[in-house]
Symmetry: C2
Subunit: 230 residues, 2 copies
DNA sequence: GGAGACGAGATTGTCAACGATTTTGGATGG
DNA sequence: CCATCCAAAATCGTTGACAATCTCGTCTCC
C-alpha cells in the first residue's frame, strides 16, 4: 500500500504490475531506482520502509540498504529520524546539473576527439546521419534515443571512469527535466544542429572545437529550459 | 510500548543510558571517514564489519550503514558477498579527478567572479596577501591551509550546491595524492603565482579569465603530479 | 607430486523483534 | 476560542541471531 498522495498517477491497487518480475532475484535497489526514474514515485513522496518492504517482498533491512545506496546516488533524500523521500530536483538544480555537465561532457568530448579511432569514427558518422534523418521525419522518440546514445558513446570512448560515474549520477537525477524538453519539435530542430557540430568536431579530431561545441549545446539546453519554465 | 518519557520534566531518567552507543554522539560514518582520509586505514585494506563494530563500539548495523554511505561517497569499495575495503585511488584516477575539477572549479570561479560582493572581495585580497607571505617565509603548512581555504570559499560563494557536492566528494578521494605535492617548496613557488592569477581574475570580476586561471592552475598540478610519479 | 573435491572457518546478507524519536490528535486550562 | 500539554500512533534506528556465500587449508586420487 504505497500512498500515492502527491502529484502523479494513481498507482492503484496493483503496485508491481507491468514488466517487473515480482521481487525475485533482481536487486531491490534497482527496482526502487527504476520506479523513481520512471516516475512511479513522485518527487517528495515519502518512501516508508515498511511499505516498500511489503511492496517488493523484501525485508526492511534490504529496503533500508537500497535506500542508503540510492541516497548515495542522489536520488533519495534521507532526513534523520524522519524517513526517506524521493529527492525533488528544482529548476535551479536542473540548471546547475547542466552547467556541471558543460565541464565534464566537454572534457569527455575533447578526449574522444583526441583519441578517436577509425572504427569509432564510422559509428559517429552513422549517428550523425541518423539524427538528421529522424529529425527530418519528426520522429522525436527515436531522436531522443540517438541523443542518449551519443552521450553514452562519448562517455564510454572517453575512457574516463571518474567523469562517467558523475555523469551517470547526474543523468539519473535530471532525467525528468530532460524529458520535458525532448518532446518539443522546435527544440529538436535546433538541437540536431548542435549535435552535428559536436560530432563534426570529434570527427575532425579537434578537442578544443569539441569542447566548445558541447558547451554551446548545453548552454542552448539551459536557455530552452529557462524559457520553458518562465 | 508505553513511552515512559515525560516531555519537558525529566525526572529521574538518567542521562547516560547503558547500552546506547556510548561512543558519543559522533556518527560512526564520520569516524571511519576521518580514519580513511587521515590514512589510518591503508588503501585496499579490508574493512571487516565485525572489527569496525568492536573498534568503534557500535553495532554491526551501524557500521554497515556507515560503509554504505562511504561507498556512496566513493571512499569505500563494496564487493558483493566479499566485504568492503578502502578504495585505492590510482595515479590515473587522481589525474582524472583533477581533470574533472578543471571544469567544475572553473565554473565555480566564474560564478564567483560574476557575482562578487565587496565584503567578499576584501577576504580574497587578504588571502592573496597571506599566500604570498607564507610562501615567501617557506611556511608550507600554512600555505596549504590557505590553498584549501581558497577552494572552500570559492565553492561556497559560487552558490552552486551541485558543484560543491561533487567537489567535496572528489576532494575526500584525492586528499592523499594532493598531500604528496603540498610538501614541495619548489611546487609552492609556482602554485602561488597561479593562485594569485585566480584571485586577480575574481577580483577583476572577469568570469572568463577566472575560469582560464583555474584551468591553468589545475593543468599545472596535473603536470607536477605526472612528473612526481614518473 | 600435482590437480581437483571437500569441509571448516570466516564474513557478509537477511530477518524479525525491540527501543527511541518524531508527529499527530485530543484533552485541558486560560 | 486559542495556546499548551500530554498521550498514542507511526516510523525510524538498533540489536542479536540466523542463513547464504566466499575463502582457504586439507585430503584423496591419478
Amino acid at each position: 500500500m504505497v500512498g500515492a498522495r502527491a502529484t502523479g498517477s494513481d498507482t492503484g491497487t496493483d503496485e508491481s504490475a507491468p514488466g517487473i518480475p515480482s521481487a525475485g532475484d533482481t536487486r531491490v535497489t534497482d527496482l526502487i531506482r527504476d520506479a523513481i526514474v520512471r516516475g512511479e514515485f513522485a518527487p517528495n513522496q515519502r518512501l516508508i520502509e515498511a511499505d516498500l518492504s511489503s511492496a517488493f517482498a523484501a525485508s526492511r533491512a534490504t529496503v533500508r540498504t537500497a535506500l542508503l545506496e540510492l541516497a548515495g546516488e542522489g536520488l533519495v533524500e534521507r532526513l534523520p529520524n524522519k524517513g526517506s523521500r524521493v529527492r525533488a530536483i528544482s529548476l535551479k538544480e536542473a540548471i546547475e546539473i547542466l552547467e556541471v555537465r558543460i565541464g565534464i561532457e566537454g572534457l569527455c568530448a575533447a578526449k574522444v576527439a583526441e583519441h578517436l579511432r577509425a572504427e569509432d569514427a564510422a559509428e559517429f558518422e552513422w549517428m550523425r546521419a541518423q539524427m538528421i534523418e529522424t529529425v527530418a521525419e519528426g520522429d522525436l522518440v527515436e531522436y531522443s534515443l540517438l541523443n542518449r546514445l551519443l552521450d553514452v558513446r562519448v562517455r564510454e570512448l572517453s575512457d574516463h571512469v571518474t567523469a562517467a560515474g558523475i555523469l551517470a549520477r547526474l543523468h539519473a537525477q535530471s532525467v525528468r527535466h530532460q524529458f520535458k524538453l525532448s518532446a518539443r519539435p522546435a527544440r529538436a530542430k535546433v538541437s540536431v544542429l548542435e549535435h552535428v557540430a559536436i560530432i563534426d568536431a570529434i570527427l575532425a579530431r579537434d578537442p578544443v572545437a569539441a569542447e566548445q561545441a558541447v558547451r554551446t549545446h548545453l548552454l542552448s539546453v539551459i536557455g530552452a529550459l529557462r524559457d520553458l519554465t518562465s
